[in-house]
């Protein structure tokens, strides 16, 4: 038996293209006669456009048009709703302004520079109304969306009766995805009802679907290309108003139009992690058995959409606790709509839950790791189902050993190194292990190469590489003869790349289609090749691009089989999705994060020294790309813990740090050695590969590990992210400055 390809650290199949500039991202495409666009965005946060003066802009060199609600082509899909319904921002439908930075016009010119300049000449007058951007001040408007109702099991607020209790408020500021690649689109109407789009998206099919609904043209008339994406982290999980604005501009001027937005506009046009406030209360017996948890969360949303995510999800099943109740409310503000940002709600919720567990452990005088193990949920207490697989305890053990957990002095502010306060902290994370529905086509050519096609996406994890490995194992075809093509709406359906589900969803379809292909080849051989006449598909051995009889006496290569029959190719398509197993088992991935930090006792500066992250994500398809994905998530977690915060001036409703210099994503110097370990045990039920998701758990829980480590180092509990020096300074002793 050959060594399987899955589980190997195979190099990325598109790595060379990416590092040599050969990969074409959306903005690299250049349809003939393409024009360039720039947005004019609102400088008020609530009100209406009184007038738009375009005289100067239209006179500027190279300008083709200025498109706004005054002259935009109609969007037929808007008619299905009434203005003011919560149906999202219907760009250029009317003169209403809901948030600062909302696009009010799009300027098109024959160069980007000219478009940008002309946009600065558009004069907009507003009738300003009172705006609300401050969540704390808007708590009286908090409401509950039907998707996220109150949850309870056992007794409500049972924590109050426990002998040992902890209750505290945790806040997380608004965070922005800020991938390196800016958002935008190229829109090209090749006929009045035929549209080609080069998009930055996590799902070409969902773009196609949205455009079809809005413009009421046949699905097959909409072609969406998105083969490479320069990072997204969730911000490209939907079609945004900026893309509709570009499509409208292209329709109006009847030429292809490209828009790439600015870094500043990334803060207001493509979603964000909503700022939130969470109260966690928990109670335990004196020996550390949890008796009750109450989790109440509030987060912001826009005036025109209710954005919800899994903020309170983890609390419901993470620990074996008989009494749990949760509440999740939204506060609508004059802000654009949030969107899932890596780890999404679970990353938010885990900061509160995993900080609170740590706080409780000190009250109980029980090691925080021991407290978690003591309350480990062997079965899912929310759904009363067994887990399909759960190796969290192994993950705890690996992480503790690798970071040296047992050698820490558990007392806060007890450890020092070179004048720095030293702290160790840990946390856990979890996220649903999903499996959606996807279709893949497999085309085996008579030269022996296999091409797989599916409308999947790759925002960075290495989708195609993993798919090639899965296909190689099923078919016995060498990986260098297999190509996985994605990012085209003409390919068979795949969902968006989101929720850590691509390997599970698309990988299963790859596995299925490859099995179907082998069956097709077997039947071909059985019916046409004499030596195979007496066998069945199940008995045939598939190795090295050959069909081999069970007695190993006869072999035929795929090439020979197809050439013999004068077939240029064999094409098979298969659709795959999860079944009954999803009703019998609770399916989750788990992660464990350990961090060692240094805190400067005089300045309050936190520097992470060492990170150990362990994932229970089932069988790992590619240990190299999976490790990279874990490190990427951890870096996101470092930002969440220590540096990231988009700050609004509520007087204006405008961001004051909307650029890469002032909105601090971690740089290399913030990123210490990160050791990644995988439990790497197959989940027996989830999918043919036994692989659970990885992308979210890489980040989920991480911020709490850092915050817990900072507490251990300093004795100061920071419940308000990010942990910047000023938050430690006022409690750090000013008596004992040290070098």
């Amino acid at each position: 038996m050959k060594k399987p390809q899955t589980g190997q650290p195979m190099d990325r199949v598109d790595g060379r293209l990416k590092v040599t500039g050969g990969a074409k991202y959306f903005a690299d495409h250049q349809p003939a006669d393409m024009q360039f666009a720039a947005l004019v965005c609102s400088t008020i946060s609530c009100g209406a456009i009184a007038s738009i003066s375009t005289t100067k802009a239209l006179r500027a060199p190279g300008v083709a048009d200025v498109v706004s609600h005054l002259n935009a082509p109609p969007v037929p899909g808007y008619k299905k709703t009434n203005p003011g319904d919560k149906n999202g921002l219907q760009i250029f439908r009317d003169n209403r302004i809901y948030s600062n930075g909302q696009p009010v016009a799009i300027v098109v010119a024959n160069t980007m520079e000219r478009a940008v300049y002309a946009a600065s000449l558009v004069e907009v007058q507003y009738n300003q109304e009172t705006h609300y951007t401050n969540m704390e001040a808007g708590m009286d408007k908090a409401f509950q969306n039907n998707r996220m109702k109150d949850y309870s099991r056992g007794e409500i607020n049972a924590w109050q009766k426990a002998p040992v209790t902890h209750s505290a408020q945790y806040t997380i500021p608004l965070e922005v995805h800020n991938p390196m690649e800016l958002a935008g689109i190229i829109a090209h109407w090749t006929s009045p009802d035929t549209l080609t789009l080069y998009a930055k998206t996590q799902g070409v099919k969902s773009v196609q679907e949205t455009i079809q609904e809005l413009f009421e043209i046949p699905e097959q008339n909409i072609t969406v290309h998105s083969r490479f994406v320069g990072g997204a982290f969730g911000m490209a999980l939907r079609v945004w108003p900026l893309e509709i604005a570009t499509i409208l501009a292209a329709k109006k001027i009847r030429k292809p139009v490209k828009l790439v937005i600015t870094r500043e506009q990334m803060f207001t046009l493509v979603g964000y992690r909503p700022n939130s406030s969470q109260k966690i209360s928990m109670g335990a017996t004196a020996d550390g058995k949890l008796t009750g948890i109450t989790h109440e969360a509030v987060a912001i949303t826009s005036p025109y959409e209710d954005f919800t995510e899994g903020i309170v999800a983890m609390t419901k099943f993470m620990y074996d606790c008989p009494n749990v109740n949760t509440r999740y409310q939204l506060v609508p503000l004059n802000m654009s709509t949030p969107i899932w940002m890596r780890g999404p709600g679970e990353a938010t919720g885990s900061f509160a839950l995993e900080s609170a567990i740590d706080e409780l452990s000190y009250k109980l005088k029980i090691d925080p790791l021991q407290l978690r193990i003591l309350n480990h949920a062997d079965t899912d207490p929310e759904r009363n189902l067994p887990f399909s697989s759960k190796y969290l305890k192994e993950a705890y053990q690996i992480g503790a050993e690798k970071i040296g957990w047992s050698s820490r002095n558990p007392a806060p502010r007890s450890m020092q190194e070179n004048g720095m306060l030293v702290g160790y902290g840990m946390s856990s994370g979890t996220f649903g292990a999903y499996r959606g529905k996807a279709t893949v086509s497999a085309i085996l050519k008579s030269d022996g190469t296999l091409t797989l096609q599916s409308a999947a996406a790759d925002i960075g994890p290495g989708t195609a590489t993993a798919m090639v490995q899965i296909a190689a194992d099923v078919t016995g075809i060498s990986p260098d003869k297999i190509t996985f093509m994605l990012g085209e709406s003409t390919f068979p359906y795949a969902p968006e790349q989101g929720g850590s589900a691509t390997v599970s969803t698309v990988g299963s379809a790859v596995s299925d289609v490859c099995h179907a292909l082998l069956k097709e080849l077997a039947n071909l051989a059985i019916s046409q090749v004499p030596a195979f006449k007496q066998t069945t598909p199940e008995l045939i051995i598939y190795e090295d691009g050959q069909l081999i009889t069970a007695d190993r006496q006869t072999k035929i290569t795929h090439e020979a089989l197809l050439q013999q029959q004068k077939l240029p190719e064999v094409k098979v398509t298969a659709t795959s999705q999860g079944g009954e197993e999803r009703k019998k088992y609770s399916m989750y991935s788990f992660s464990v994060h350990f961090a060692k930090v240094h805190v400067h006792p005089a300045t309050g500066v936190v520097r992470i020294q060492h990170i150990v992250s362990v994932a229970d994500a089932g069988a790992i398809v590619n240990t190299k790309t999976a490790r990279s994905q874990m490190i990427g998530g951890v870096v996101g977690g470092i930002g969440m813990a220590l540096t990231e915060e988009a700050i609004l001036d509520h007087r204006f409703g405008r961001f004051v740090n909307n650029n890469y210099a002032d909105y601090h994503v971690p740089v290399n110097a913030d990123t210490p050695p990160t050791d990644v370990y995988f439990v790497n045990k197959k989940d027996p039920y989830i999918n043919p590969m036994g692989s659970k998701g990885l992308g979210e758990i890489a980040l989920i829980g991480f911020a709490a590990a850092v915050s817990n480590a900072v507490f251990h180092a300093t004795g100061i509990r920071v419940r308000d992210l990010p942990i910047t020096p000023d938050k430690l300074l006022h409690i750090v002793s000013t008596e004992n400055a040290t070098a």
Binding site: E113, G604, D649, N657, D662, P725, D726, T734, A737
Partner: protein
Amino acid sequence: MNPFSYVRPNSLKAAIDAMARDHSARFIAGGTNLLDLMKNGVTLPEKLIDINQLPLREIRQDGNTLHIGALVLNSDLAAHELVKTQHPLLSEALLAGASQQLRNMATVGGNMMQRTRCTYFYDTSMPCNKRQPNSGCGAIGGINRMHAIFGASDNCIAVHPSDMCVALAALDATVLVAGPKGERRIPFTDFHRLPGNTPQLDNNLAKNELITAVEIPPHPFTKHICYLKVRDRASYAFALVSVAVAMDISDNVIRNIRIAMGGVAHKPWRLPDAEKALTGKAPTSDNFRLAATIATQGAKTYAHNGFKKDLAFNSIQTALLKAATA
């Protein structure tokens, strides 16, 4: 960005003449700040005078004085042997600033001329007296975590963002400038201004003058130096507070000392009273604490930058201790 014309004179005189003819013009060298300002619509020059052809790239020893041409790149200056051996404080400060990529483009003169990073200055839809006199200060009633605690006025609480300039202020450098009336010398500590009633003026350079060089006089500060920069992320972040310390210690007595701070004022902030208090004293924690107390007296804080006074107090002591034990 607005349309502009572009000239590239190859003599100092031609550069100054070009400026004299067009008052909306701007000199450009590395452009690491000016291009941002132009893209944001903060500065709208109709002409850019590219001075990169001018012979101002030399670092040389003039007797005991180090002469640094205005076009010397920040990265070259930080790595120069004479700077590393004679003025290590300057090298440290330079390396604490910006990112490697920016230091590879930014010049000495441009570093001095960079504008504040105050967000209200950069956002043309918010008020700012520095950008538009008499429009109000957005920061005073707004978000002011990064803002000044010393020398601010009711018109402006912006800070100067440079690290290099903090070291040059500590080292008593001199700025050489050329203008239509010839050359003149400005003590470095007099180069930048406090905001007062004219926050639109960052420095005392006349409109058509050009920085040609910076000179650093000889001094004994080669061992006991420290540039401490406290910031929100480990690199590529402006200082919350920075402290430059250079001292000369013999027989356990501080013979000579310079202290300057960044991130706290509209200009690099020298601490003459703290220097005086430590001169002739032993380098002890108690004396450093006293100096830090003196240095932070008179700090005025706003809604979000109250921590800066404590941070300055702690950071001064930390930097002094580090320098003394270096």
